[in-house]
């Protein structure tokens, strides 16, 4: 029984994906444009199997942490704050115009979007874009909880109620 329990936890701890540190990511390009990053549910002529582009850092804690750093370094915070949004839309949300699959997010960062999102493809190296994608997905709990930090060393989310208890209608 004891050994069974230990075995279980060994498995739980394994999580190689979470702990991997790819300090020297492959410079190879991933093809995203055109095929994988679709945004519509309607596939005219009937749905056909399509190539899927997977995030090389899916579930990776180090990538989330790097992505978080880059999110600040590359001024994503300037427009999207710490996920709540400001100039740009929030990134913690349910409804995504351009999709929240890794390939969609990658596409959005690389190409930009017409309503103000800059196109970063020419500047940010590809592996860092994937790290950003991983971090953005972690904000929405789309990455494993165990790979996502609970808080950062900043002031950001506040669950404190700062608002007066319903003062009701104005006089």
């Amino acid at each position: 029984m004891r050994f069974a329990a230990i075995g279980c936890f060994l498995l739980a701890l394994t999580a190689c994906e979470r702990e991997r540190r790819d300090l020297r990511p492959s410079p190879a390009k991933v093809v995203v444009f055109g095929d994988a990053a679709i945004q519509s549910q309607i596939l005219p002529g009937g749905g056909a199997p399509r190539a899927s582009v997977t995030n090389p850092f899916q579930g990776n804690a180090y990538a989330i942490s790097e992505g978080q750093r880059l999110f600040g370094w590359y001024n994503c915070t300037g427009c999207h704050a710490n996920g709540g949004g400001a100039i740009g839309p929030p990134l913690i949300k349910d409804h995504w115009i351009y999709g929240n699959e890794p390939a969609n997010l990658f596409d959005t960062i690389v190409k930009g979007r017409p309503n103000g999102m800059p196109s970063w493809g020419a500047k940010i190296p590809e592996y860092q874009i994937w790290q950003l994608v991983t971090y953005i997905r972690s904000m929405n709990n789309l990455e494993p909880r165990s790979a996502t930090p609970e808080r950062l060393d900043t002031i950001e989310q506040s669950s404190r109620t700062i608002l007066p208890k319903s003062e009701g209608e104005p006089r």
Partner: protein, 353 residues
């Protein structure tokens, strides 16, 4: 077991430092190192102090060393002697009393010695932390980052503020106040040849005085464990006469050198059109990134990657092409560069004197 896919540092480097002549001096042998406390170790040694404070500390250390060394020898001598003592002669009451008296005496002596040591070291402690400012002090802000040093020479006149990285120039004979900050985790600013260390703690400001009368290069290194590349977070302190220092400040105040030929021109274009501008700044261009070291006068720096490599074109090429090979985990991005762009970029960066 997953042993990771992380590369280890594979030095390709040309390790000759700018201004160094000939080959490195032959390393001291084990024996000389073990038995000599002389400064055979080069520029990062607390035993080869150039700074006023470090000298005081060294003197105190030498005092401690001899005093405690003698005590150690006495204790060991007694212990060894006891092996040959065989105990017979000391079993009687009087001998016991004598021994107890000896213990008491030794204890009292210990207390006295330690009291003396406390007084001496508190005295020296006061001196090395005393404000050295006589109104002529230089105030330098050193900010620790993973894993490099941001250096800013503060001045009431903001136009006289100089920004540099991984290198500290100080004038000889002038007290320098180091204001320490950190941008991420705790680091520790430590130039052993000048002064003891002082931690750089996020959202705190720590201060330290350094001063030297001897021109020279003093190497420093982060002394608080700060993550993956703690080992490669060094900085050079160059102590130089006031006139040279002022000259250096004057150079640093100028914007980055304009490209002087087509190759450099091309290099500047490469710099400005790639990821470089996201993090680095070169005054005089539109590159104004603040999260990486300022490169306005990169060509005049001694080292690349915070003291990891001597600054020369070959090393720089290796560093830009694959920074993760030289400093695994570094924040420097691996930027995909067209091979034909590398040479112009190197030319341009090295021209930023």
């Amino acid at each position: 077991m997953t042993w990771g896919r992380m590369p280890s540092c594979a030095p390709v480097a040309n390790r000759r430092w700018p201004g160094e002549s000939g080959t490195r001096p032959k390393l001291a042998t084990c024996a000389t190192m073990l038995f000599s406390l002389a400064s055979a170790f080069g520029q990062q040694s607390s035993l080869a102090p150039g700074g006023t404070h470090a000298s005081q500390i060294k003197s105190l250390g030498v005092f401690f060393f001899w005093l405690l060394g003698i005590i150690f020898l006495i204790v060991i001598a007694i212990a060894v002697a006891s092996i040959f003592q065989r105990g017979q002669s000391t079993q009687d009451e009087a001998a016991q009393r004598r021994l107890k008296t000896a213990i008491a005496g030794a204890s009292v002596l210990t207390i006295l010695i330690l009291f003396g040591l406390v007084v001496v070291s508190v005295g020296v402690g006061k001196e090395i932390s005393a404000p050295g400012g006589r109104g002529n002090e230089l105030v330098v802000e050193v900010t620790g980052n993973q894993w490099w040093w941001f250096v800013r020479y503060l001045n009431d006149d903001p136009t006289r503020i100089v920004v540099t990285a991984n290198e500290l120039h100080i004038p000889v004979g002038r007290p320098v106040l180091i204001r320490g900050l950190s941008n991420d985790v705790i680091h520790s600013f430590w130039v052993p040849g000048l002064q003891g260390k002082r931690d750089l703690i996020p959202s705190r400001v720590t201060t330290q005085w350094i001063e030297t009368n001897e021109p020279g290069r003093y190497r420093g290194q982060c002394a608080e464990f700060c993550g993956l590349q703690h080992a490669h977070m060094a900085l050079w302190t160059v102590a130089e006469p006031e006139s040279q220092f002022q000259q250096w400040i004057g150079t640093q105040l100028r914007p980055g050198a304009a490209p002087s030929d087509d190759l450099q021109q091309r290099g500047q274009e490469v710099f400005l059109s790639h990821a470089c501008v996201l993090c680095h700044s070169i005054q005089g261009t539109t590159a104004n990134g603040q999260v990486g070291p300022d490169l306005t006068h990169f060509g005049s720096r001694l080292s690349i990657a915070a003291g990891t490599l001597p600054n020369n074109k070959g090393n720089l090429a290796g560093w830009i092409a694959d920074p993760q090979n030289i400093k695994p985990g570094t924040r420097m991005a691996t930027v995909p560069l067209d091979p034909t762009d590398m040479q112009p970029l190197l030319e341009y960066l090295e021209s930023l004197q």
